[in-house]
């Protein structure tokens, strides 16, 4: 049932409420997001289509929400403070990276994406968490 109802886009929501809608394939570059979205994992994201990670909210395609309404919420993440880095500014950059990665998927000698110096430490933590 999963594959047929999965929409092409997913929505990532930052801790301050900004939504970023990006292609599912791009978002799945992140190991963490990929595992979240994996229907077989039976995580809350996959069951309810919505996961609340204290500061990071990840709303998965609405199509998916409509089809599975079991309403089971699994809290996987217990440490509260460590996701504060997903502000809109950081998440925007992360999404930019997802698209940049998707764009250069099969190319050799890809130019580096521009990462602003003031963001790089926060982004580093985010990248470590997202497993990208």
């Amino acid at each position: 049932m999963a594959q047929s109802t999965q929409s092409e886009y997913v929505t990532l929501v930052s801790c301050d409420g900004f939504e970023f809608i990006i292609p599912r394939s791009a978002a799945c570059i992140s190991g963490t997001i990929r595992r979240m979205l994996d229907p077989s994992s039976n995580f809350s994201e996959a069951v309810t289509g919505r996961c609340v990670l204290n500061d990071m909210t990840c709303v998965i395609d609405r199509e998916w929400i409509r089809t599975t309404r079991s309403g089971v919420l699994v809290t996987r993440f217990t440490d509260v403070g460590s996701f504060a880095f997903f502000s809109a500014v950081v998440l925007e950059k992360v999404c930019e990276y997802f698209c940049y990665n998707e764009k250069h998927k099969d190319q050799a000698n890809v130019p580096d994406m521009d990462v602003p110096a003031e963001l790089c430490l926060e982004l580093l933590m985010a990248a470590d968490y997202l497993d990208t």
């Binding site: 990276y97 990665n101 998927k105 190319q107 050799a108 000698n109 890809v110 430490l121 982004l123 470590d128």
Partner: protein, 606 residues
């Protein structure tokens, strides 16, 4: 005299009707019915007209000049100017044919064609410039200055004073930087290739951010709660850039961390080492390289504090005395689980080694490389360290085979990795002992030896009860005889038979294989090992440098047999002339060969 009038006309103008003393020239002109006053008035009128014109033009162009130029400017409308214009046009045509023009044009390629005129005009203006040594007003600030060869042209073709020149070049330098085309440069590509990176697609966000952080390490005040794995990677990058100094060191210190890995400490001083120990009380893993200023006092501090160091990896702590080493081993040796020392030439002798062997009873990992003062006696001592699971030795003294045999007999059954480098006199008995006693090895390195025979090496791998090896390095194990390049009839070193036996034994699990310089491996053997139906699913790194038989065909066979291959090193394989490299494989060391990656011919590597 007339010149004087002209030059001082501004002062003279109000006093025009007052007759001063007449000069001889004025008298002469008057006698010839020429009025100096008439000439002067005509000239003044003409100048003021020209000035008005200039002011009008300038106000139209919104260009500010602090004072109108005293020299007359050519008027575009007057008939003489038409000839001037034509002459200028001719000059520009001439310039366009000149070498200088084509050179400049080449520099600004990629811009639209109407640049021709701009460039020609530029050259023209430069030619009309005052020569060095002359005085000129700066085009921007209007200041009077002496023209030099370094004076820059301003935006309107005039010259700039020294200060404005500087500011102007700063602006000018930034402009060409933008012109860089996308993608990374050739040098960077080659550098990545030598690092074994032939990435497809973008690098990970993590790696990108770590590099960026390393770029701006001077601006970072603290890392916050960075996970140890990232800290380790940052340490690696900063070490590679030689950027570990007392300031950046602070970022790696934290009471919560249990380990510190810095691969280049050349810029740190004795105090910094003390600081590391003082600020990291929970430290258990200490991995520092190039620690020349490491002195007895640092170890003394460690001993006094009774620190719980389990992993001690130090490269070149040459100021530490033997007495201190011994005390360290006696006091803290029993806690050590892993000890790695490199490059010790003034201390650490056989006796110290004996103390180490006696007291480091829990040691599982021992690496001693480039230690100059230990030899046979130390080897005998090591054979008593029965807790060892990983042993790596590269001594500088000549040693006998017997102590090595003893080590293998005593430790062999437990050993998981064994590295014996440059034991030049070790012979086939060692190989036989490894075959008989080692059953748990996953990493084996036997290098720089010209005594092992091909037959003995083949016997090592044939019928060996050991599991398949994942890491094999048997480089430079070959016969060296200048007068007989083909080698003796009974092959010495790793040759065809041993290579086939090795790959039969370990082919399924092997990840890293280095048989560099084993030049007696034949074409037929390579062809057999990399035959069509053979697969080495795990092999990622293969070094075949100076294995002369490798050619284009064999290279393609290798790519076919090793689906996981990431790096193929082929220095000195001159028969490789034209190869198609699969995606994601870094081929290093080809010389003037045509390398095609994914259908695109790559630029020359070397």
């Amino acid at each position: 005299m007339l010149d004087t009038h002209v030059g001082n006309r501004a002062n003279r103008r109000p006093a025009r009707n007052i007759r001063g003393p007449r000069s001889a020239l004025t008298d002469f002109l008057a006698s010839n019915n020429i009025s100096a006053a008439q000439i002067r008035d005509d000239y003044d009128r003409w100048v003021s007209q020209a000035q008005n014109q200039a002011v009008e033009e300038e106000s139209a162009n919104l260009v500010e000049h602090e004072e109108p130029e005293p020299e007359p400017e050519p008027e575009p409308e007057s008939p003489e100017d038409k000839t001037k214009k034509r002459k200028r046009q001719q000059a520009i045509e001439k310039i366009k044919k000149s070498k200088e023009f084509s050179r400049r044009k080449a520099r600004c390629t990629g811009e639209p064609d109407d640049d021709d005129d701009i460039i020609a005009n530029e050259i023209m203006n430069e030619k009309q410039r005052p020569n060095p040594g002359q005085l000129e007003n700066c085009e921007l600030c209007g200041k009077r200055f002496t023209v030099t060869a370094y004076s820059k042209a301003g935006p309107n073709g005039g010259l700039l004073c020294a200060d404005c020149s500087k500011k102007h070049t700063d602006g000018g330098k930034k402009a060409p930087a933008k012109k860089r085309n996308s993608g990374i440069g050739r040098r960077q590509k080659q550098s990545n290739l030598l690092d074994g990176l032939a990435p497809h697609g973008a690098q990970s966000l993590l790696e990108m951010c770590i590099k960026k952080v390393a770029d701006h390490i001077g601006d970072v005040e603290e890392f916050g709660d960075l996970p140890p794995s990232l800290l380790h990677r940052l340490g690696q990058i900063l070490s590679k850039r030689r950027a570990v100094n007392p300031q950046t060191l602070d970022l790696f210190l934290g009471a919560q961390y249990q380990s510190i890995d810095l691969y280049d400490c050349a810029r740190l001083d004795t105090d910094d080492y003390n600081k590391i120990l003082a600020s990291m009380p929970a430290l258990s893993r200490l991995n520092l390289r190039f620690v020349t200023p490491w002195k007895d006092s640092v170890f003394q501090y460690m001993i006094d504090r009774d620190m719980n160091i389990t992993d001690l990896h130090l490269d070149s702590p040459n100021l530490v005395t033997d007495a201190c080493w011994r005390e360290l081993f006696m006091r803290l040796g029993s806690r050590l689980q892993s000890l790695k020392l490199w490059n010790l030439d003034s201390a650490f002798d056989d006796e110290t080694a004996e103390v180490m062997c006696k007291h480091c009873t829990g040691l599982r990992r021992l690496k001693l490389k480039y230690l100059w003062k230990i030899g046979n006696k130390a080897l005998e001592g090591i054979s008593s360290m029965t807790s060892l699971e990983h042993l790596s030795l590269h001594l500088m003294q000549d040693t006998d085979t017997e102590p090595l045999l003893q080590i293998i007999t005593e430790l062999g059954p437990k050993l998981r990795s064994l590295s014996l480098e440059e034991f030049e006199f070790a012979d086939d008995r060692l190989l036989q002992h490894i075959h008989d006693h080692c059953h748990n090895l996953s990493k084996l390195r036997l290098t720089q030896n010209a005594v092992y025979t091909d037959k003995a090496l083949a016997n090592l791998f044939r019928g060996w009860s050991n599991q398949a090896l994942t890491y094999v390095d048997i480089h430079a194990v070959r016969d060296v005889d200048m007068s007989n390049p083909a080698g003796p009839p009974e092959p010495v070193g790793l040759a065809s038979d041993a290579f086939i036996a090795l790959m039969e034994h370990s082919g399924l699990k092997i990840k890293t294989l280095n048989i560099q310089s084993c030049r007696h491996v034949s074409y037929a053997a390579l062809e057999e090992v990399f035959a069509e139906q053979k697969r080495y699913p795990e092999l990622q790194y293969l070094d075949l440098s100076f294995v002369g038989a490798v050619d284009d065909y064999l290279a393609q066979c290798i790519f076919r047999c090793c689906p996981a291959l990431a790096r193929l090193v082929v220095f000195g394989c001159f028969k490789i002339r034209d190869i198609c490299v699969p995606k994601g494989v870094a081929v290093i060391g080809t010389v003037s060969a045509k390398v095609t990656v994914d259908g695109i011919v790559q630029q020359e590597t070397v």
